[in-house]
């Protein structure tokens, strides 16, 4: 299981612009490097990062081998309604990890 860290406010006022930050610990192995045995290290990367807020996609990104290990995304959205913010990462083999943060809008 990959370690995931999320930084997001628990509460916000309606209309407020909030900062969301998400990091996943992942090697993002390019497939171009050689290991100590001289053999190529197989490619292992996350390909997709998606964030939904109350069911609606508010952020998505395609990742490529040029992205460094432990990718961190910081972005902004407008608080509209109380609901779950779901952060989801999917790797090249279709395996995925997700974390949910509940936002309360007052």
């Amino acid at each position: 299981m990959a370690t995931i860290r999320i930084a997001a406010p628990d509460t916000a006022s309606a209309g407020e612009v909030i900062e969301l930050k998400a990091l996943i610990q992942h090697p993002m192995e390019t497939g171009y490097r050689s290991g100590p045995d001289g053999k190529r290290i197989e490619r292992d990367i996350i390909e997709k990062f998606e964030v939904t807020y109350d069911g609606e996609t508010v952020f998505e990104a395609d990742l490529r081998p040029g992205i460094a290990a432990n990718p961190i995304f910081t972005f902004y959205t407008r608080a509209t309604t109380s609901g779950p913010i779901v952060f989801k990462w999917t790797d090249q083999d279709g395996e995925s990890w997700s974390e949910t943060h509940e936002l309360t809008v007052e």
């Binding site: 860290r5 999320i6 930084a7 990091l23 610990q25 290990a69």
Partner: protein, 424 residues
């Protein structure tokens, strides 16, 4: 050209190889080139000395506002209470004694076109060759919350002097059981292994004097200089007193609050009893004024003679330069100064600038009686400094205790030698 050549004409002639055979030594002596050096540290003071050595007839002027220089190497021992700050301080009397003019003022500006340096007093100084050795300045805008006022609450102690004493006083005043947080930036910064030596010696102070206290390093990097040797020493000596948190474990500090004494990473906030914030850095301010710093804040140079690639007639040495893989260290600055002085002398005498090998050794104390080192040897490869493979290297891992003790003695001998060569 008719009549007696003027000094300007002789120097201008030096640039063209056709004129060189005509220039005899007496002519050079008569021309008395004006060499001005800014910054009296391990780079600048050595540059002044070696220019004067290689070109005894030259007029050599060193501009340095401080009457006494406070050395950074070994200042971590001061912070740990193992050495006095006075032992770090050196004056310029011996440079004056060999005919170097020392001006106790700040260089405020450089006009590269007119070849003049403007001093704090407003006076202008004309030069034929200018060597800048300005060291580092803090990038006050780079870390949220860390400005000049913040540095009084959360000292950086990355320029030796009052900041060194301040951090020492804070450590002494901290009750046992306290937490020290050290923040370390990404490269490039002055003295790559410096934070880890400092952490080792502070941990030693806690272990021997305040055993319930702890130091946490929050690092913006995952890898650092001499890492395996430090990790080995920390596991052996300071398992209860020192914790290192790298970038992958969320160690990168993104903001500080000197009022609340907190440091924040992307996901966590740490409360500190004493905070040592080693902030992002850039070349000393005068480099930007002179137009020799690029958008990175550091100074690109030609490794043959450390001439600026951005301005003619100006040379940059020491921490201010982009000389990687050669690190920003006193050792590097000192050797770059000697090389720069030698090449300037060769050029002014009409000799060819022979390429030169450079080297660096950095010692780091892991306890007061044990040190580790890294050595690199560098050559100029197509205008870029490059490590010579299978030269230099690290101290051995897991050696007999006598090896670390011998390196601690070597470190001491090195400091004595380099300060003697520079200021003695």
């Amino acid at each position: 050209m008719t009549g007696a050549p003027k000094r300007r004409d002789v120097l201008a002639g030096l640039a063209g190889t056709a004129a060189l055979p005509l220039l005899s030594s007496p002519a050079l002596a008569q021309s008395q080139p004006r060499i001005v050096i800014v910054g009296g540290g391990f780079g600048g003071a050595a540059a002044a000395r070696y220019v004067k050595t290689y070109l005894p007839g030259a007029s050599v002027t060193l501009i340095e506002p401080q009457a006494r220089y406070t050395a950074c190497p070994f200042s971590n021992l001061v912070i740990a209470g193992l050495r006095s700050l006075e032992a770090q301080q050196f004056g310029y009397d011996n440079l004056k004694a060999i005919g170097i003019k020392v001006i106790g003022d700040r260089a405020e500006d450089v006009d590269a076109g007119a070849r003049t340096v403007t001093l704090g007093s407003g006076d202008r100084l004309a030069y034929d060759k200018l060597i800048l050795s300005p060291g580092i300045d803090i990038r006050w805008d780079a870390l949220e919350g860390y400005d000049e006022d913040a540095a009084t609450a959360m000292p950086h102690a990355w320029k030796a002097g009052p900041q060194t004493s301040l951090l020492r006083e804070q450590l002494e005043a901290m009750p046992d059981g306290g937490t020290v947080i050290m923040s370390v930036p990404t490269a490039p910064y002055r003295c790559p292994p410096g934070p880890y030596e400092r952490a080792s010696l502070i941990a030693h102070y806690f272990k021997t004097r305040k055993p319930a206290s702890k130091l946490i390093i929050l690092d913006a990097k995952d890898e650092f200089s001499k890492q395996p040797l430090f990790l080995e020493a920390w596991a052996e000596h300071y398992p209860d007193h020192l914790e290192w948190i790298g970038a992958s474990d969320f160690g990168r500090v993104i903001s500080v609050d000197p009022g609340a004494m907190t440091l924040s990473t992307d996901f966590d906030t740490y409360e500190a009893d004493v905070a040592n914030v080693i902030p992002p850095q850039k070349a000393g301010e005068i480099a930007a004024r002179a137009g020799v710093a690029d958008q990175t804040g550091w100074c690109p140079i030609n490794p043959v003679d450390f001439s600026s690639t951005l301005q003619p007639g100006i040379y940059v040495i020491g921490d201010a330069t982009i000389a990687a893989p050669m690190p920003k260290s006193a050792f590097s600055a000192n050797l770059q100064a000697k090389l720069c002085a030698l090449q300037i002398a060769r050029e002014l005498k009409g000799e060819a600038l022979a390429p030169t090998i450079l080297a660096n050794t950095c010692y780091s104390y892991v306890t007061p009686d044990a040190a580790v080192s890294i050595t690199g040897v560098y050559s100029n490869k197509d205008g870029q400094l490059s490590s010579i493979e299978s030269s230099g290297g690290l101290s051995p891992a897991d050696p007999a205790p006598s090896v670390r003790a011998a390196e601690a003695a070597e470190a001491e001998a090195w400091f004595e030698q380099i300060t003697l060569q520079t200021f003695g």
